[in-house]
Symmetry: C2
Subunit: 304 residues, 2 copies
Amino acid sequence: MKVQIVEVGPRDGLQNESAIVPAEAKIGLVHKLMEAGLARIEASSFVNPRWIPQLADAEEVLKGIMPIAKKGVRISALVPNVRGLERARQCGLEEIALFMSASESHNRKNINKSIAETFPVLAEVAKEALALGMRVRGYVSTVFGCPYEGDVPVDNSRRVTEALLEMGVYEVSLGDTIGVATPKQVHEIFAVLVKDFTTERLAGHFHDTRGTGLANVVAALEEGIRTFDSSIGGLGGCPYAPGAAGNISTEDLVYMLHGMGYETGVDLNRLTEAGAYIQEQLGRELSSKVLKANLAKRKLDEHM
Amino acid sequence: MKVQIVEVGPRDGLQNESAIVPAEAKIGLVHKLMEAGLARIEASSFVNPRWIPQLADAEEVLKGIMPIAKKGVRISALVPNVRGLERARQCGLEEIALFMSASESHNRKNINKSIAETFPVLAEVAKEALALGMRVRGYVSTVFGCPYEGDVPVDNSRRVTEALLEMGVYEVSLGDTIGVATPKQVHEIFAVLVKDFTTERLAGHFHDTRGTGLANVVAALEEGIRTFDSSIGGLGGCPYAPGAAGNISTEDLVYMLHGMGYETGVDLNRLTEAGAYIQEQLGRELSSKVLKANLAKRKLDEHM
C-alpha cells in the first residue's frame, strides 16, 4: 500500500518561523529532501512578500531548485492570483497550489475577500495555469475549526472543495489550520467528503498544535485517504499561537507509516539529514520526535 | 464513555529527568495534579536510590502527599522487593506497582535477574501487599520492542502478564518502553492479550519517543482498552536515547480524549497549571503540545 507525502516544510513550515532562512539554505534543504526520496515538495509561495517576508526570495529559491530537480519530482509553490502565476511560470514551475478557507472570517483575514469573491479570482488562476499545462492543487483551510468562528460546518468545506475541483484542481488538501482536530472529527468530516469527492481527490493536512496530528492521520487513513502533507522536522508553528507547534513532522509521519506497512518511497535516514540540516540553519530545536530520537541515538553511538 | 488516566509523571517522568527536583516541589506537583482531577497518581519509587537518585526522597515526598491526598485519589509507588514494600507501608500507601520486562535482556539489565528468577520475588511482594490490604498494579516493559533484542514475541508478554495476574495484580500496564510502537502493532498485540485477559485487566503505557503515542492510544481504545498511563507535560525522556521524548503527555491525552467524547474527570485548564508549574521547576521547555499551545494562547490574551 502506497501513501504519498507532500512535503510543505519549505513553504508552510518556513513561513511560520520567525527566523529568515537564506535562499541558499532553502535550496540546500529542498536538495536534501529530494535525496531522501520525497517526490512532491512545496518549495515557496508567491504571496506578497509584505505579508510573508520569510518567503520573499521565492524566485531565487525556485530558480535555484528547478535545474537540480530530479526526474519525477514535483516542485510546486503557493499562488494567490494571476500575478503570482506569472511569477511561477517564469521560474519554470509545472505545478502550483491555490488556497482559501472554509470559514468566512478566516478567508477574509487571510485573503481580504469573502469566500464568494475568492472563487472567480482562483478560477481565473486555475484556468490560465491549466492552459499553460500546469497541475493545480487546492488547499482548504480551517476545515476542522476556525480561530475566529470555532466550529466550521462540514457543508462549508464541501462547498469550497467542490468549487475548487470544478476549477480543475486535481486534489484538495483539507487543512486543520489551527491544530484542533481529534480522530473522531477526522472520521466524521472525511466520511462526508470522501462520499462526495472520492479518496483520490482528497489529502489530509494536519497541524500538531495539540499533539493529535498522527492520530488524525490514522483516522484519515481509515477513511481511505492516501495523501498527507507534512513538514520536515515539524518546522513552523501555529500563526494563532506563537510558540505552539506547526505541521506534523515528516520524519514522524514516515516512521509511523512504514511501521504500519505503508510504502512512502522515503529513506528515513536521509530524512534525518534534511531535518538536522534545517535545524542547524534555524538554530532552534525542532519538534520532530523521530529527529530528536535519531540524533540522540547517533550521539550515543558515537560515544560507544 | 469513561477513560481512566494513571498519572506517572512524578515517577516515570521525573526519574528520567537529569535535574533533581526538590521534595517540596514534587509534593506541590502532586497537589496540583489532584486539583486538576487526576484520581490515580504514581508519586514515587522505592527502587534503590543508587540507581535512581532523582527519586531518593520517596519517603519525604509520600509522607508529604498522603495527609493531603483527596478522598478517592489513589496514590501509588513503584516497589521492587519486600524491602521496598515495607518502606511503602510506612508511608501509609494503599497501592503499589510491581514491574518486570517481557524481554529477557531488558529484565536482566533492569532488575539483574532472569524473568524466571523475578517471578518469585514479585509474587512474595504481591502476597504481602495483598495481606496488608493494598492494591497491586503490574507493569510489563518492552512489550512493543526491546532496546537489546528488537522485536519481542507477543507470547513473552502474554506469559508475564499471566504470571502477574496470578500473583493478584488487579491490572497490568503494557509498556512501549522505548517508544517504537505504531498503531498496527498496538492493534495486533492488544487483540491477542485482550482475548486472554479481558480489557478490564489491561492498560496502555505509551512513550512518545517517535511521535506515535496518541495514535497508539487510539488503536488501543479501538481494542477496548480504557486505562492509559501518561506524564504531565510529557515529562521525562527515553533512558536509551537521552534527549528523546518520554511518556505521552497527560495534557495532550486529555485534550484528545475529550475531543473524542470520552470523560476523564480531568480539568484541562487546571492541568495546564500543573504542567506550567513543573516546567518552571525544571527550567526546561517540556514537550507537551497542549501545554505549549495553552501557554502561548495565554500570553497572546495577556497582550490583547
